[in-house]
Each structure stands twice: as structure tokens, then as C-alpha cells.
């Protein structure tokens, strides 16, 4: 039975991948050099990198810490509460944060939505992604061999050393997975930054969608080109990072240290 599933899954997967080929066709004829020099796109890239990397990094760190607290320190109440943000779709959580920070509630003058530091955008993403990372990392901790930790403790290593020797090597792969999933998701999304972002600079997804749907048909190929180039950059990043860590990961998967 499972072979049928694989066939159907592959067919379904084909759809977004052929869509990328279509992007290639549409992007033909874009003057890439003028794109690179266009300040609007450059500013957009900068702010996208900033928002994406900060929210991804924070989510990974906090999510991992939470998973560790549950697994190592036995704080199981966390896993119940951390489910809550999972129930909220991104578009709804953007609206909830908008209600909180757009001035409806007094006392939140410190940070407000729609400002150039994009703090509320980052906050929304961190709130949404920490539980996701938590789930991914909880799985990894569950399969982690307790023996390594006990050994590290017996050897009286410092807590930090315990972590870096007995846990960190096993977390590389799931962290890498989560990292790229989050980066791909956050860096080209529309709904959250469209509601909580600012007019300039816009995040890549918002700018591309705006260019595609407002009037000026001339800009069309440009937006496709940006989508394509961004997808390729992510893709290269994925390949590179997995290639660089391949050796270490394989050694761990075999469970042998040579």
C-alpha cells in the first residue's frame, strides 16, 4: 500500500516544482543588473534577511531550550502550554498581534506595529515558530541516547560541556532542517508582514506580490526573477549546509566516533 502513497505524493510534489520551471520561463528577459542596483529591492533584501534571521535564530534557541527543559529537567507542563500557539494560523496570529500593538491596548507604547524595526513582525514569528521548533527538537531529544549524558555527568564535565559533547552533535541535523524550513517560510511570506510591516522597506514577499498585482505590468518579470533567484539561493544554501555537515552527521547516525 505504501508504494501508492509514494507515487501520489511524488505527483503532488511535482506541482510546485514545475511551477519553479514556469518561473524560469517568466523571468527570462529580466535585467538582473538593474535589479541588483534597484534600491527598493536591495533595501527589501536587507530587511528580509534581518527579520528572517533574527526570528529564525530566536525561535531555534528558545524552542531548543524549551525542549531541553522538558527532556532534561522534566518540565512537562511546558509541552501542554506550548501547543497553544500551534492552533493559530499565521494570518490569525498576525491579526491578534495587530490588535495588541496597533494602539488598541494602552500601555504598549514601547513597541508598536508598523514600524521600521519590524519588532512586532519578529515577535509574531517567534511566537508562532517556537512551538514548531519545540516539536521538532522534542523528537530529537526523545531519540537521544541517555547514556552519553550520564557518561558526561560521571566525568564531571561542566553543564556547558555536557551539552556540547552529549547533546549538540545529535541536534545538528534537526536544527538544520528546522532552520531551512523556517527561513524558506518566513523570507517569502505575505500575510504577516503585509499587515504588520511598513511601506518602506517592504519584505521580499510583500514587495513581489505588490509588484505582481498592482498595475504596472512592466515590473512583472522582475518579481518572478526575484522569486526564482531567492528560491535558488535557498536551494544552494540547503545543499551547501547539508554537504558541509554530511560527514559529521553520518558518523553520528552510525553511532560510532572514530
Amino acid at each position: 500500500m505504501s508504494r501508492v502513497n509514494v507515487v501520489i505524493s511524488s505527483l503532488i510534489t511535482l506541482l510546485p516544482l514545475t511551477a519553479v520551471l514556469f518561473l524560469l520561463r517568466e523571468a527570462v528577459g529580466t535585467d538582473v543588473w538593474s535589479l541588483v542596483q534597484d534600491e527598493t529591492w536591495r533595501a527589501s533584501l536587507a530587511v528580509t534577511l534581518y527579520v528572517t534571521l533574527v526570528s529564525t535564530f530566536l525561535s531555534l534557541v528558545i524552542g531548543t531550550i524549551c525542549a531541553r527543559m522538558v527532556y532534561v529537567n522534566g518540565r512537562t507542563w511546558l509541552s501542554f502550554w506550548l501547543n497553544w500557539p500551534l492552533f493559530v494560523p499565521h494570518i490569525a496570529s498576525a491579526y491578534l498581534f495587530y490588535l495588541l500593538f496597533s494602539g488598541g491596548f494602552p500601555g504598549f507604547g514601547l513597541i508598536a506595529s508598523n514600524e521600521r524595526h519590524h519588532l512586532v513582525v519578529i515577535l509574531t514569528y517567534v511566537w508562532k515558530e517556537v512551538p514548531f521548533v519545540f516539536l521538532m527538537m522534542l523528537g530529537s531529544y526523545a531519540q537521544l541516547n541517555r547514556g552519553y549524558r550520564d557518561m558526561a555527568k560521571t566525568l564531571q564535565l561542566s553543564p556547558w560541556q555536557q551539552f556540547s559533547v552529549a547533546e549538540w552533535p545529535f541536534l545538528i541535523k534537526p536544527l538544520l532542517d528546522s532552520f531551512w524550513i523556517l527561513v524558506a517560510f518566513i523570507s517569502f511570506a505575505y500575510e504577516v508582514p503585509a499587515l504588520l510591516g511598513v511601506t518602506f522597506p517592504k519584505l521580499l514577499g510583500v514587495l513581489a506580490y505588490d509588484r505582481l498585482t498592482t498595475g504596472l505590468f512592466l515590473n512583472e518579470s522582475e518579481a518572478y526573477a526575484v522569486a526564482l533567484i531567492w528560491a535558488l539561493i535557498l536551494f544552494a544554501g540547503v545543499l551547501l549546509s547539508y554537504a558541509l555537515t554530511a560527514k559529521r552527521r553520518r558518523r553520528i547516525e552510525r553511532g560510532v566516533r572514530r
Binding site: V4, T40, T199, D210, T214, G215, L216
Partner: protein, 391 residues
């Protein structure tokens, strides 16, 4: 196992075949025949859905009348104009002869784009009896472009600002004074981004204040204009670091009292909002040096699956009763596209007798300051040049 896969493949192939309609639907030669063919069908009407009054006008007033008179179901689909124009253009590229959109609400640069890409059905005017009642000036051009029978005028409005008289004690009378007013009241005024229909029109008003009709012959907008505009932004809402993405967002800021002015095409649009308690009671109209008048239109895409139904809906929307209800403050307050002189006496008197609203501007003053729009090329120039202001 393999049998299952095969069966799946068959099923998919069948589905695809069944779904591929390649016949283009044709328009009946007379209105009576069109109405006959359209009975018991659905018409997909695509239009901007950001105004509650407009939506309710169509759902609560127009749709039941169509149902009763022609046995047609009206399916109102809310979508941004540029978005559904893009959809039709993607259809065109994919050679999709039988699309999804029957009727759309369109004007200005979106009309130009659609007309240039051959997205609209031609010569629909002949099929619509009520088109004879249209105001000929309004029907002739759309923001300076000849309509050439590709679209039918639906309404006619002018651009005004609205302000809260309880907060703004001495309202500005010119665009220059408006600027000085924002210096005295920083953070209390803003306008939508220029990708928005209304925001772009606001900038065109500023252009007219600066260059007048000379702008019509200019190929670019001078840098000084943008520099001046950029120098203005620190006095706007959020110090000009961000602008509302749409008119709906500006209205939201106005309703909550965060800004004290809003704006928009349609001089009567605030009345229903005040009556519903959304806008503050002190809302009044503000006509500055000049006001662009704008006609908006109905068009049928080239691949409309139900063009006959669309024709019937247009006929109904152009009927004096529907136009009268549209102009009254019950739902929308949108000015009629009909020539009142062409109507019979009772209808004419009904239009003239429409109540004066407290938020309506002085009609004589508004008529005196009316100017024609610059047209889509300037809309594009504004879109290209404005981003440096928001920077």
C-alpha cells in the same frame, strides 16, 4: 497494486477531459434573447470588496431584484481590481476560452491595461437598452482614455476629503493650507500608499496644485516635487515612516480617531458611515482647490462563461431605480452615470429630491472645482516616483 495506480491515472485523465471547456460562450443578438438564455444561470460579478455599503447594496437590493425579474443569481466575488485583471490576463496567456469572470468593475489604469491586452469583450453597448440613458460625457472616456464600447459607465463621483469638525476647528481650504495644518497638528493626517487607487489620486491632486494642466504634457515628475513631498512626511501619521496600505486602513485610523481626516472618491461616501456610527458624528466634507472627477465602469471579459447573464445584470444596474438607490445614502451614495435629463419626469424628480446629507459638500462649489483626471500615464509616474518619499 499496479491496477490501483492505473485506475488513478484513468480517473485523473477523465477529470481533466471533463473539465476542459474550450468553447467560447457567445452573446445573443438582442436583449430579449440574452435575458431568455440567461434565465436560471449565475453571474459571477468581480469587484473590489472593501466597502460595506457597496456590498450591501448589491446583496440586499440588486440581487433580489435580479432574482425576481430575470431568475438570475448574482454571485458577488470580492477581490482587488488589479488582481482579477491579472487573472484574466493569465487566462489569456493560457488560452483559456471559458473563464470564470462574467462581469467586472473597473476603471483607470486597470482599464487601460485590460484594453491593451485585449481582455475585454467588444461592443457590449448595443445589447443593453438602458445604455441609451447614459450621460454621454461620462461614457466617452475613462480617465482620459476613450472607452470605445469596451465598458459601460456605472457611476460618477468626485474626490473629496472628510474631516472631524469636533477636532479640526479651522479646516484648511487649499492643499497649501492642508500642509501648514499638518505642521501644526503633526501625526493627524496621512494618505494611503500610491499603489492604492485613492492614495495615488491624492498625489495627483498635489501635482495639479503645483503644475496644473501643464502636467498633462510633461514626461516626468520633477524631482523638486518629490523632495518637497518627502520634506512633508515627518509631519504625517507615524512620522511618515509608514503609510496605510489601503483606503480601508485609512478609514480605520479615521474611525478610531488616530487621524482626523480621510479622503476618497465619492463625495457622499461618509454619510452611511456616520449613520452607522463608524465615522465620528462631526464628519464633514472638505473640498480644496480642485477635485478630480472620476467615472467607474462595468466590463465583460473576453472569456466570460455567461456573457448574456452579464448583459442582463448591466441592464438592471443601469435602470433608474437601481441608480437612484445607489445614489441615496441608504447604502452607497454613488453618483449616477445616467443623464438625468434623459429620464422621464418622475425619475428625474426623484433624483433631484434625494436628501441633502450633513456630510455632503456644497454641490455648486464641487462642480466649479471639478477637473479631469490626468490619465494612466501619470498614475504610473506617481507609482514609480513615490517610493523615495516613503524611504
Amino acid at each position: 497494486m499496479i491496477r490501483i495506480v492505473k485506475r488513478c491515472a484513468w480517473l485523473t485523465a477523465l477529470l481533466m477531459l471533463a473539465a476542459c471547456g474550450t468553447e467560447r460562450a457567445e452573446l445573443a443578438p438582442t436583449f430579449e434573447q440574452a435575458a431568455e438564455e440567461a434565465a436560471q444561470t449565475t453571474v459571477n460579478f468581480y469587484l473590489w470588496g472593501g466597502d460595506d455599503g457597496i456590498n450591501r447594496y448589491l446583496d440586499e437590493f440588486v440581487a433580489p431584484r435580479l432574482e425576481a425579474a430575470y431568475d438570475i443569481e448574482l454571485n458577488r466575488v470580492p477581490m482587488d481590481t488589479a488582481e482579477f485583471v491579472r487573472q484574466v490576463s493569465l487566462d489569456k496567456r493560457a488560452e483559456r476560452a471559458n473563464g470564470t469572470i462574467d462581469l467586472m468593475w473597473i476603471n483607470g489604469d486597470n482599464f487601460r491595461n485590460a484594453a491593451e491586452a485585449d481582455l475585454l469583450r467588444e461592443d457590449i453597448l448595443d445589447a443593453i437598452p438602458n445604455a441609451a440613458l447614459l450621460n454621454e460625457t461620462a461614457q466617452a472616456t475613462d480617465a482620459g482614455i476613450p472607452t470605445e464600447g469596451l465598458e459601460v459607465a456605472w457611476g460618477n463621483v468626485q474626490f473629496v476629503l472628510h474631516y472631524d469638525a469636533d477636532k479640526v476647528k479651522n479646516p484648511p481650504e487649499t492643499f497649501d493650507q492642508l500642509r501648514r495644518w499638518t505642521e501644526e497638528n503633526p501625526g493627524r493626517f496621512t494618505y494611503p500608499e500610491v499603489t492604492d487607487f485613492t492614495g495615488n489620486a491624492f498625489i495627483r491632486h498635489l501635482l495639479y496644485a503645483e503644475y496644473g494642466d501643464a502636467m498633462r504634457d510633461m514626461d516626468t515628475i520633477p524631482d523638486e516635487f518629490w523632495d518637497e513631498l518627502a520634506a512633508w512626511s515627518p509631519n504625517l501619521w507615524k512620522r511618515g515612516e509608514t503609510y496605510p496600505k489601503s483606503l480601508a486602513q485609512l478609514d480605520q485610523l479615521y474611525a478610531s480617531g488616530e487621524v482626523w481626516m480621510t479622503m476618497g472618491f465619492n463625495e457622499r461616501r461618509a454619510e452611511a458611515e456616520v449613520n452607522a456610527g463608524v465615522f465620528p458624528d462631526g464628519t464633514r466634507a472638505l473640498v480644496l482647490d480642485h477635485s478630480i472627477s472620476s467615472t467607474h465602469f462595468l466590463a465583460i471579459p473576453f472569456n466570460a462563461p455567461n456573457p448574456n447573464g452579464a448583459v442582463v445584470v448591466i441592464e438592471e444596474l443601469l435602470s433608474p431605480e437601481a441608480q437612484l438607490m445607489k445614489q441615496s445614502d441608504t447604502y452607497w451614495g454613488d453618483g449616477t452615470s445616467l443623464d438625468v435629463e434623459k429620464l422621464d419626469q418622475t425619475d428625474r424628480e426623484a433624483f433631484l429630491a434625494l436628501d441633502e446629507g450633513v456630510t455632503y459638500p456644497d454641490p455648486i462649489e464641487l462642480a466649479e472645482r471639478q477637473i479631469a483626471d490626468y490619465g494612466p500615464d501619470v498614475i504610473d509616474l506617481v507609482r514609480e516616483g513615490w517610493p523615495r518619499v516613503a524611504r
